[in-house]
Symmetry: C2
């Protein structure tokens, strides 16, 4: 069985092993694949792994041996799944590998806006606090999150984990998702319409997949619905 990994570098820059895959067949791993070499490199492989290399109709049509596409990431917008479906080719993604990491960095980005910690730390090391006549020292206004409202667009695993951290920080969460999980609703977490989320949130964080329906969601018309001073993360 021929197996090709089109862009393995981001997943495995050298600290992981491909041995599990090599046990299943003849494996060729490319660090990166430019778009104009995708068809040539897939060739007659039956199993194709991609992280961000686009597998469109042209590739499916030219590479008729494909039996399986494995996306080495969460977002699968790089694969034309309707073509894959038509040909009966299964496409898998890895929806959970980054749940903790992405929710953590979402909050880290938010806290950077609230504290500018790195700059503050540099300023303190520079002696600015020691030379300050007061015991209190800050070099940019601090934002306390407790009591503020976080709007989360796309309330899947990552959105939900982000909400947990935000709630622990004392924030109220407004969630927008086509599917509502009853058990998550609480005094500090409500599902609302997109318009209500835009109007009431102090911070908005996007955790939805890139679909046609979500592309360009932070548009001029939607920004106009937000209150002043909203912080947006993606």
């Amino acid at each position: 069985m021929k197996i090709v990994v089109l862009d393995g570098y981001a997943l495995n820059p050298g600290d992981l092993s491909w041995a599990g895959l090599e046990a299943l067949g003849e494996v060729v791993v490319y660090d990166r694949t430019p778009a104009d070499q995708t068809i040539e490199r897939v060739g007659d492989a039956e199993i194709v792994f991609t992280n961000k290399t686009v597998i469109n109709k042209e590739v499916f049509d030219a590479c008729s041996a494909i039996k399986f596409i494995g996306v080495l990431a969460t977002g699968y917008n790089v694969v034309d799944v309707s073509v894959a479906k038509g040909k009966g080719i299964p496409v898998t993604n890895i929806p959970t590998y980054g749940t903790a990491a992405v929710s953590q960095i979402t909050i880290a980005l938010l806290l950077e806006v609230c504290h500018h910690i790195g700059e503050h730390s540099k300023s303190v090391l520079n002696g600015d606090w020691a030379n300050c006549p007061d015991w209190c020292y800050w070099n940019s206004p601090l934002i306390e999150l407790a009591g503020k409202t976080l709007g989360i667009i796309g309330f899947g695993r990552i959105g939900q984990e982000t909400a947990k951290i935000a709630q622990a920080l004392g924030m109220r969460v407004l969630a927008f998702d086509s599917y509502e999980v009853e058990a998550l609703k609480s005094d500090t977490l409500q599902y609302v319409s997109l318009d209500e989320l835009l109007a009431k949130s102090d911070v908005i964080s996007l955790h939805c997949p890139l679909f046609e329906s979500t592309q360009g969601m932070i548009s001029k018309s939607n920004i106009a619905k937000m209150k002043d001073g909203v912080i947006i993360h993606r």
Copy 2:
């Protein structure tokens, strides 16, 4: 009644009002008070407010009109409370005003160590991500907190709030405090001895008051008990 505020600037740099205090008596507010002017400024005041100005035995002995000391902060190590007790002078502090803010900045400091968000952001704005051949980009190693252990020394209000956020981030919490709250114990939160906390924590955060018993707690001998690579916050 004479009321003196010895160092009001940190509490009220101009955005708050002293009117509530002025309704109670004759109020004099100083922005800051150097140690050698404390006795002169307290003078025959009955009510003394301090934030960080030290009220020691010398001040109590020289200023015999003092009936009440209000500390405009949480830590009350600036007041010699044993002398105050001996003279029957009540000393108050404000233990709760900063609970959310301090636990938030504790986590912000930790996330800065994990992500160097500010530097990363600058690097991205500088085009380093756009020019990176891979979809993934980082300029310093990232630390995922989920599954790691946070040791909290001093498990009062701020320590407990910090623990909640850490638990939401997927961390396990080891708490050290002379007083244990049964209801807080869970699969992800245990009370342990100081030695066990030092030995098992990936991150150590101090949230105890400054007492004689806690001063110098992060000593050479205690650092020697920690595992490699521990992050310490205070």
